[in-house]
Symmetry: C2
Subunit: 333 residues, 2 copies
DNA sequence: CTGAAAGCGCTAACAA
DNA sequence: TTGTTAGCGCTTTCAG
């Protein structure tokens, strides 16, 4: 509030008997300054309570030491781990972390990027909703790293949903299920496409039937309609687009007096907070979310580094594993 | 990545045949410019793809149009609503929103504040862990608004825990409970103090016994020890510091074969995501979290406004209400 | 290794 | 209402 004139490089310089540029170097380019001089400058700075102004620094240098992460919705616990991983990594590197929400809208996402463009060095886009072309376009002007989305030519960190989906199919097959129904997430969701393709292929290999229904809103509230649709389909196993939806389905099935897993099995994706204490506890595909967030930041950090060369974009694929709980069991009959 | 020379106010000014300051005004001070001129400037700016650089603007004006919210832990769903409310309000005002985590540490919190000080116009401190003195100190140099914490002389938005705690006591009393045990959160938590005081007073009024045990880590994992301690205490009702802890307690009780609410009732605070689908569904104190976040940002926004005068700090108290679910029932015997 | 000087892009007096 | 003139606080050539 009060603005008792901030101490600047000049104040420190005068007091230390050096030039402002030396003070600057002492902070941002330690090697370019004599160790003794630097020590002295730092002491004076400390004494005067000097604090570099990141804005002034960024204005001149072009580097903001800040990065932004854009997430569709904060209320989805699925993003917890990723956010935390990203924040931790950024923090560790002394990078300021901006979190933005896109409200599940590609337009909002795009606007956020344009808006923040000058204030950050790069963006982590989690489960981006933007069309591929738009994203590629933006990537030419901005530093982007994707999480749980892959686009040719762009760096990304994803959790292996293909292999994970196969694990799900194998699990269900081993329990004697002959058919499954995938209750899909948003139509334009890259993840939904991935999951369905793998599920479909895996089921074919195992001689199982597989159908896709939906899209359903990937939230607990979407579970009602999804469950009802699944029941009509006659499949003995439901694979829900994510845990939120799966939990909603579990609820609806309980309301309707359908026994899980006695009459029907339910599987989710993400292993979110709550998946282990809903009733019945949910069988779901888990992955190192935190690691994914960390990796994305890492990518941004190294991209901006001295190499300068834009080698082929890094793509990190993290292993997933199926956590078997109480919502899956032997096929009935 | 590529830096094809950004268009600046000067480019626009030249092209529009006006001075740079006019361009500046057209954007940031529309009234101080002729409507026609402004229109023209905006058109030219649009055509050239001009985008104001917020850093340069902030450096000169001292206003960053950015604010930061500091939260102890992103993994606690309790903060969802508050974060979302704050972000939405900021977004609506065209303010950039920075989210930081303090890892439940007062030191980290303080460091974050110092670190971001120059880059933001104010801070929303959610469930701040800092000692009162430190906070008051910081408030003299920074623009602070507290959420779920009250300190004399500082603006805040809190959910009414006192009245809420009384609601809990009344509910339990009406079910015939003669004693309750409060399983407390962190010792230095302001909320924990509030809750216990109100619980204690309410119980006394109703002629109920009340004991406090703990502190316990306010997480699901803390529930094991908490539940065991509660059982030993012999109380027929448990009030947990928050829902995370309550859910952990529910789990432990289930493991030990203790019937809830048949043998013992359990109440939580916050009505977090999951409180409605754990087993049994949790009776808990709910409040308008989102509103709290919104209010805190609102405070920051108006504080920085033209009034200039620092009237008595605003304190917003939001109503809470008890959501009765299946974890509470008549006292046994 | 260090200093001097010139801005980064914008806004804020002060004139006109 | 608009233009002119200085910077905001820092980094960065370029000399020395």
């Amino acid at each position: 509030m009060s603005t008792p004139k901030r101490t600047t490089v000049y104040d420190v310089a005068r007091e230390a008997g050096v030039a402002a540029s030396t003070v600057s170097r002492a902070f941002s380019n330690p090697r370019r300054v004599n160790a003794t001089t630097r020590q002295h400058v730092l002491e004076v700075a400390e004494r005067l309570g000097y604090r570099p102004n990141p804005l002034a620094s960024a204005l001149q240098s072009g580097h903001t030491a800040t990065l932004a992460m854009l997430v569709p919705d904060i209320a989805n616990p699925h993003f917890f781990g990723t956010i935390r991983g990203a924040e931790r990594r950024a923090s560790a590197a002394g990078i300021t972390f901006i979190l933005g929400f896109t409200e599940e809208s590609a337009d909002t996402e795009r606007n956020q990027i344009e808006r923040l463009a000058r204030s950050v060095d790069g963006f982590v886009l989690a489960s981006s909703r933007m069309p591929e072309a738009t994203t590629v376009d933006l990537a030419s002007e901005h530093n982007l790293a994707l999480v749980n989305r892959e686009i040719d030519g762009l760096p990304s960190a994803v959790i292996d949903n293909a292999s994970g989906s196969h694990q799900i199919v194998d699990h269900l097959a081993s329990l004697g299920h002959r058919s499954l129904v995938y209750l899909s997430g948003p139509h334009h969701s890259w993840l939904a496409g991935q999951r369905w393709r793998a599920l479909h292929a895996g089921a074919a290999q195992r001689g199982m039937g597989a159908r896709r229904l939906g899209p359903f809103p990937p939230q607990v509230a979407g579970g009602g309609a999804a469950a009802d649709a699944a029941l009509v389909s006659g499949a003995s196993a439901i694979v829900a687009h994510n845990d939120l939806l799966a939990i909603g389905i579990l609820r609806r099935l309980a309301e309707r007096g359908v026994d899980v897993p006695g009459e029907i099995s339910v599987v989710g994706y993400d292993d979110i907070f709550g998946a282990d204490f809903c009733a019945p506890a949910l069988t779901t595909l888990a992955g190192p979310q935190e690691e994914a967030g960390r990796a994305a930041v890492e990518i941004l950090l190294t991209k901006g580094s001295p190499t300068g060369v834009q080698d082929s974009p890094r793509r990190v694929v993290l292993p997933s594993h199926l956590v078997i709980r109480d919502s899956t069991g032997p096929a009935p009959g």
